[in-house]
Subunit: 118 residues, 2 copies
DNA sequence: CGCAAAGTACGACGGCTGTCAAAGTTCGAC
DNA sequence: GTCGAACTTTGACAGCCGTCGTACTTTGCG
C-alpha cells in the first residue's frame, strides 16, 4: 500500500495535515506574512481553486512555492495537480470549524484603514 | 510647549496609537507571539486591568517589558501608571471595532485542539 | 523524441526578533 | 534621605524566516 508515501507518479501531492492537528500558532505564523495572506484572500474571494501561477505575487517563483508550502503545512490550503499546474483550494469550512471567525476577520479586511482594496 | 514629549514626571505614559492608525499587519505581528497572546488572553479573561507583574510569564522582566511594548505599539493595550506599577488595559472595544471578530477568534481558543485551557 | 511550461528542491544570505543580563529610573514607605 | 520594589533601557547575541538564483522534475504537445 505504501501508505507513508505513494511513490507512484500520480501522487505528487504531499500530505495535508488533519484539521484536528492544526494549531492556532501555526495558522497565525502562516497568516502573519502579507504575501501568504494575499494568497488566502485571493482564494477566499474567488470561491474556486486557483493554480499557483494565477495568483500574482511580488516574489520569485521559488519564494512563492515556499509560501504555498507554509500554507499547506498550516492546514490552510489543499493542493492537487492538474497537468503541470498545481491547484490550491482554501480549506474554508475546516478552518472555520477549528477557528470560528478567524478567517473572516483576517480576510474581510485587506490591510486596515490605509488600503482601499486591490 | 514640548508637545513631542511631556518631560513632566506625571507623564511616563508613552503615546498610544489611534485606533484608525492600527494596521492588521501590526496586530498580527503582535499576536503571533505566544507570550503576547498569553498576555492578551489574561486581560481578556480578567475583565480588569492588570499590572505587568500580575501576569506571570515564562520570560525575564526585560523581555516582558518588550512584549508589553509591542502590544502597546500595535494598539492592543493601553498602559498607565499606578505608583510603581504599570497597569495594562485591553483595548477591547476599539479592536473589535477595527477588526470585528478577530480578538475573539484568537483568544477564545487557547492553543487549538490540544489544549484544554489553563 | 525534443522542447516549453509550471513548479519544486537546494543552498546561501541578510535582516528581524525574541531573549537575557546589567544598569538606570521612579515611586512609596520609613 | 535611604532602601526596596517595579519596570525600563541599552547592548549583545542567537536563531529563524523570507528572499533569491540555479538546477531539476514532471507534464503536455507536436
Amino acid at each position: 500500500m505504501a501508505a507513508t508515501r505513494q511513490k507512484n507518479k500520480d501522487a505528487r501531492i504531499p500530505a495535508h495535515p488533519d484539521v484536528r492537528t492544526i494549531s492556532l500558532q501555526q495558522v497565525l505564523e502562516a497568516l502573519v506574512d502579507p504575501v501568504r495572506r494575499h494568497i488566502v484572500s485571493a482564494l477566499y474571494a474567488s470561491h474556486e481553486d486557483l493554480a499557483c501561477g494565477t495568483i500574482d505575487l511580488p516574489v520569485s517563483k521559488s519564494t512563492a512555492t515556499h509560501h504555498f508550502h507554509v500554507l499547506r503545512e498550516a492546514g490552510l490550503i489543499r493542493q492537487y495537480y492538474v497537468g503541470t499546474s498545481r491547484m490550491n483550494a482554501l480549506r474554508r469550512d475546516e478552518i472555520d470549524e477549528a477557528f470560528p471567525g478567524l478567517l473572516r476577520a483576517l480576510v474581510a479586511r485587506p490591510e486596515g484603514p490605509s488600503a482601499g482594496g486591490a
